[in-house]
């Protein structure tokens, strides 16, 4: 199955990568006051572009759309090649949305305001680049470039132990991406060795026929690189550390966008490139996925720091993406992709909620929190909806993805689906625990605290406008999932075409 290419009349994808970079330069040149408005406008433009692409994308048949290819270093077969299929496109859209939300939210930055927005803008360009690149060198460059601004965001604008967390984040993910690099170079060399062609294009490397053992080795190399990013158990400990220290907007990006790159990598590379190895390692990935779901749900309920709780819940949800992906059937992959989108919305919203609580009460520790619901009703409502979407309530986005992923898994392994389904219980437990300890139980508060609470301000305009889009799309996906399923169907068919045929 070779994909069709629909060249772009106008290099719209390159433009959406370049716009944030230009904006970053402009922000750098102008004074501090202009930083935020420029960033918001930029991200709004990128969001508008990606929403437009989402609407005009043709989901009938597998086509790489808005495709651009320019020679870069032809001697080594390296080119600049971008385009989108539904998987890329939904991820780009999610990225654009998450950055828009983060910029609107970022009001209380006190130090190095220009640098803050510059870092985020560069990060946005790199993230989009990762999702649209089809040339492995370009992909890898974007993949690594992304680390630097994120490292700075945690390391400069984070909380007390930010340096430890930033370093851990950087070294850990860098460690993972080295394996990815080795794997990619191996594929490159093997392609040359067997076909005599030097190429770093995804569409050339997908046709490489690897001997069985080598396929297993390359699968593992790439999988290691992606597993750190997802993160999968037991490579997950950098994530809670990073989230706890990162500023709110950084956490939103980390959860909504950066984690998706790992699972994106699995769906994009491991399944189509290594179909036999994917089947071979299915039990391993199922086991790791189930451990991630249950073990990290237990980690989540053991936390008293609300951001760490939400961070662990992310790992738990990504477990669903893992099992859905490696169910290796249509429902499973569809479920995995929709869970990726949905998790981007819910975890983003939950980190915004944590940020809101911190701005009001200056603590992330449960012992200092509680009883807010009555004083901030609008926030309490949006927070409840996000929590319920995260807990997989039907009618909201979380259920659609988890249902499909579970269905796909159930067809392959009843035991895995049964164990993964336990997240219905343990997931509800930590989510409601989080909500209860932050929002309910006003009677446990002291008199002074209640007086203090009476001055609490509900969501201000900026906060409301960053919260609302996330919540709206939780409903959109939950109530009308068919549009999204229809969008990604042909893509997941392509991803699986070597495994299930067709």
């Amino acid at each position: 199955m070779t994909p069709e290419f629909v060249p772009a009349g106008f290099p719209i994808l390159s433009v959406s990568i370049i716009i944030p970079v230009i904006a970053a330069a402009v922000v750098f040149a102008l004074n501090e006051k202009m930083a935020k408005p420029i960033s918001i406008i930029t991200s709004a433009i990128v969001l508008a572009i990606s929403s437009y692409l989402l609407l005009v994308y043709d989901p009938s048949g597998y086509k790489i759309q808005f495709y651009e290819k320019y020679q870069w270093i032809p001697q080594f077969g390296i080119s600049y090649e971008v385009g989108v299929d539904a998987l890329s496109l939904t991820m780009v859209w999610l990225t654009a949305l998450a950055f828009f939300v983060s910029f609107v939210w970022s009001t209380n930055i006190e130090k190095r305001i220009k640098e803050y927005f510059v870092s985020f803008l560069i990060l946005e360009a790199a993230c989009i680049g990762v999702f649209v690149a089809w040339d492995l060198v370009a992909f890898y460059v974007f993949w690594e470039v992304m680390l630097i601004p994120m490292f700075l965001i945690i390391g400069i604008w984070g909380y007390a132990e930010r340096l430890y967390a930033a370093t851990k984040f950087f070294i850990y993910t860098f460690f993972g991406s080295l394996f990815l690099l080795i794997g990619v170079i191996g594929m490159y060399i093997y392609n040359f060795y067997s076909n005599g062609v030097l190429s770093t294009s995804y569409f050339d490397l997908i046709n490489v026929k690897l001997p069985h053992n080598l396929e297993l080795i390359f699968f593992l190399l790439l999988a290691l690189g992606f597993a750190v990013k997802v993160p999968m158990w037991p490579f997950h400990t950098w994530l809670p550390a990073a989230h706890v220290q990162a500023p709110t907007a950084g956490s939103v990006i980390l959860a909504a966008v950066l984690l998706k790159m790992g699972t994106y990598g699995f769906v994009r590379f491991n399944l189509p490139w290594f179909p036999e190895a994917s089947k071979y390692f299915m039990p391993v990935m199922f086991t790791l996925g189930v451990i991630a779901i249950i073990y990290t749900a237990m980690m989540a309920i053991a936390q008293t720091h609300i951001k760490r709780l939400i961070a662990y819940s992310s790992v738990s949800h990504m477990g669903f993406v893992t099992i859905g992906t490696f169910a290796l059937n249509q429902e499973g992959v569809n479920g995995a992709i929709i869970t990726m989108i949905s998790h981007g919305l819910t975890s983003g919203a939950l980190f915004l909620a944590a940020g809101f609580i911190y701005e009001r009460l200056h603590s992330y520790e449960m012992k200092d929190l509680g009883g807010m619901a009555k004083f901030v009703p609008v926030f309490a409502t949006l927070f409840m909806i996000s929590a319920m979407a995260s807990a997989g309530l039907p009618g909201l986005s979380g259920f659609v993805g988890e249902f499909l992923a579970l269905l796909g898994t159930f067809k392959v392994s009843i035991l895995t689906a049964t164990l993964a389904g336990l997240s219905l219980i343990v997931g509800a437990a930590y989510t409601l625990w989080l909500y209860k300890r932050t929002m309910f139980e006003e009677e446990l508060l002291s008199e002074e605290k209640i007086k203090e609470y009476e001055h609490l301000k509900d969501l201000n305009k900026a906060e409301l406008w960053s919260f609302l889009p996330l919540v709206v799309f939780m409903f959109v996906i939950g109530i009308y999932p068919n549009w999204w399923i229809n969008l990604i169907n042909s893509t997941s068919q392509f991803v699986l075409h070597k495994i299930v045929g067709g």
Binding site: I171, Y172, G186, I189, Y190, Y193, P211, N213, L214, I217, P234, H236, T237, W238, Y295, M298, M299, I301, A302, Q303, Q330, E331, G371, K374, P377, M388, L393, P394, G395, F399, F403, L404, L406, L407, F410, K411, I414, A417, T418, G421, L422, L424, I425, A428, A429, L432, W433, K436, M439, F440, E441, E442, E443, L444, I479, Y480, P481, N482, I485, N486
Partner: protein
């Protein structure tokens, strides 16, 4: 029948209106009025639809909206309107209407008045999605949705720690059932390739009994959670933290009966598996008996009624397990009416007594609130199974059926009937008569409730008196949904499977006609025994709590171990708390310290240290000369090439 879509969406519209404008524009009492209008519209519409089905005996299947496509199967938002769903929908909407009206009085002056009615409307919408569904996924949507509404309403007064805890407990325990239910849905989908009831029914003959049993048991797991049957019953008594109209609507009349309804809805699946029916029978019987024993010794007025609900739901499941599905559904209807009445009556008492819950501290308030007392008495008699109240016509047939089918089950249900009559009249006498134990300050303010609270009581009490005589109508009405020979939507093969599956109840003849049944009960040995049992229960309560001939404390001491067992609710709560709450939490904490902090981070941070050390060694490979690097690159490439040659 296109107009049926109004039924679920009218409360939804009310919910959205109140949710958006409740605090700013509507406030009290407009928010309540909007909610009442919303639910009243759907009640009227469903009664019209009910009449239509009663006349024709037809069924209608409307697909409203294609929600999700999985493979070749479209999961649609839909309405299946047949006698069974029509009955359940009417029960839900009609009882809701009166409870909503009652709530406008009960919630008077509450600062979150609009929020309350928004939640109630949301609940009714979700409940209707559940009852009207024609497939398992929409049912699950409603199922989880009512779980959410229940969570929000139990925790309505969330400033209280106990309410917040009870709400969370309810949701999480329900999720245990939902987990099984979802697995049941997945198994059904993988087996049948569809989730529409009508298509599933006709594919039953193609599937082995083992898989049918597995599906039925998994679905029943969900029912055990939702209908609070043993062993997942613990959340319901704690759910009484919610406002009383909530207890009446959600935790007595409608939501908790959803499990019973679901089993009846997919009756052919259950009927096709003997093991599944036996499980339903066993769980129902045990719950009916054990919950009644728990109810004996509680002192919280709402909790006593809550245990009674558990017990009565057990009777309904027992009826289904016996194969008497119509009797189970009739008892559901009857229970919805008289239990809503009892809860609203207790709500009226609570308002009069400023939310005093302990029956030991009440007494002699009957004279001050005659309407509440009178209607409460009617509800109690119905629960005890005294003719001519509806409870008699719905509960006695189940026990008589058990007598014919399974002696073991009969013994427990019979004993349960005695306990039921006893505990409800213990409550009745302690609250309304007996000695005056009331705090004088409260006594000064004891008063009858306003009309918007007493009128629903009177209406429900009237229904309790009258409804029993329509027994024959209901049993015949349900036939096109529950009697295999009259079910138009079943294929011949499925009909014969279902018919054989229900063989256990074939020899049972219970009079459908109310007067015949009454006459039969008063003349046959079994009927007299049952009636005598109920009267004995009432009489015992009268002797102990009204005449005070026997000191209940002494009786308690005499049977110390049993009393303790009952009082501590058979230690279910203690054991669950120790294992699933405290144990799970502590184990998670331990795992966090050992697993994440010590082992994983130990390795990660340890390897960081190791790399600093090894970095010193590897630094020596960095020669700083181009030729050195070229050499290293060549070695790397050579390693890859060697790898390819070795592995082919």
């Amino acid at each position: 029948m296109e107009y049926l879509w109004i039924i679920p969406f009218s409360p939804l519209v009310a919910f959205v209106i109140i949710g958006l404008f409740g605090y700013k524009f509507l406030r009290e009492p407009l928010a309540g009025i909007v909610a009442v209008i919303g639910v009243a519209i759907s009640a009227i519409t469903s009664v019209i639809g009910f009449m239509d089905v009663a006349k024709t005996g037809n069924y209608y299947n409307l697909k409203l909206f294609n929600w999700m496509t999985v493979g070749d199967y479209n999961i649609a938002v839909s309405i299946l309107w047949d006698p069974l769903s029509a009955l359940m929908t009417c029960v839900v909407t009609c009882v809701s209407t009166f409870i909503f009206i009652f709530a406008t009085g009960y919630m008077k002056g509450d600062e979150s008045y609009p929020r309350f009615f928004a939640y109630l409307s949301l609940f009714v919408f979700m409940m209707l999605m559940l009852t009207l569904s024609d497939n398992l996924v929409q049912l699950f949507f409603g199922w989880e949705g009512v779980g959410l509404a229940s969570y929000l309403l139990i925790g309505f007064w969330h400033y209280k720690k106990s309410a917040a805890n009870a709400a969370m407990e309810a949701f999480v325990v329900n999720r245990v059932g939902d987990w099984l239910f979802l697995l049941g849905i997945l198994l059904a989908f993988v087996t049948f390739g569809t989730l529409d009831y009508l298509e599933i029914f006709n594919k039953i003959p193609e599937v082995s009994v083992g898989i049918i049993t597995a599906i039925a048991l998994l679905l029943f797991g969900g029912a055990v959670g939702k209908s609070a049957q043993i062993p997942l019953h613990i959340w319901l008594p704690n759910a009484m933290e919610g406002p009383t109209p909530v207890s009446a609507l959600i935790h007595a009349a409608t939501m908790v009966a959803a499990g019973v309804y679901m089993v009846a809805r997919v009756m052919p699946v259950f009927a096709a598996s003997e093991v599944a029916l036996d499980t339903v029978l066993f769980v129902g019987t045990m719950s009916a008996f054990i919950a009644a024993t728990m109810g004996l010794v509680q002192n919280d007025i709402k909790r006593i009624i809550a245990y009674s609900t558990l017990s009565q739901l057990g009777y309904m499941f027992a009826a289904e397990g016996l194969g008497l599905f119509s009797e189970g559904m009739f008892h559901l209807t009857s229970h919805a009416v008289f239990k809503a009445l009892l809860f609203l009556g207790s709500g009226s008492v609570l308002i009069a007594l400023h939310h005093l819950l302990d029956v030991q501290k009440m007494g002699q308030i009957g004279r001050a609130m005659p309407i509440t007392m009178g209607t409460f008495l009617i509800g109690s008699l119905a629960l005890a199974g005294i003719p001519p109240f509806v409870g008699f016509f719905s509960k006695d047939p189940i026990i008589e059926g058990a007598f014919e089918i399974n002696t073991f089950v009969f013994m427990f249900l019979w004993a349960g009937a005695f306990l039921t009559a006893f505990y409800i009249f213990r409550l009745f006498f302690l609250t309304f008569f007996s000695t005056d134990r009331l705090d004088p300050h409260i006594r000064e303010h004891v008063h009858e409730s306003p009309p918007n609270m007493t009128i629903p009581l009177i209406v429900l009490a009237t229904a309790t008196v009258v409804l029993g005589f329509f027994r024959e109508f209901f049993i015949n009405f349900l036939k096109p949904s529950l009697d295999p020979h009259s079910m138009k939507f079943l294929s011949e093969e499925t009909k014969s499977i279902v018919w054989e599956g229900l063989a256990r109840s074939h020899h049972v003849e219970i009079d459908a006609d109310a007067f015949h049944f009454l006459g039969h009960s008063l003349t046959s040995f079994l009927g007299i025994v049952l009636l005598g049992t109920a009267l004995a229960g009432i009489f015992t309560a009268y002797v102990i709590y009204q005449l005070r001939k026997v000191d209940p404390v002494k009786v308690g001491e005499m049977f110390q171990p049993i009393y303790k067992l009952f009082y501590n609710r058979w230690y279910f709560d203690h054991i669950y708390y120790a294992i699933f709450v405290y144990g799970y939490y502590k184990f998670s904490k331990l795992l966090w310290f050992v697993g994440d902090k010590m082992i994983i981070d130990g390795v990660v941070d340890g390897s960081a240290k190791a790399s600093i050390f090894s970095g010193d060694i590897f630094r020596k490979t960095q020669l700083g000369r181009i030729s050195g690097y070229v050499l290293q690159m060549l070695i790397g490439t050579a390693i890859f090439l060697a790898l390819f040659l070795i592995i082919r």
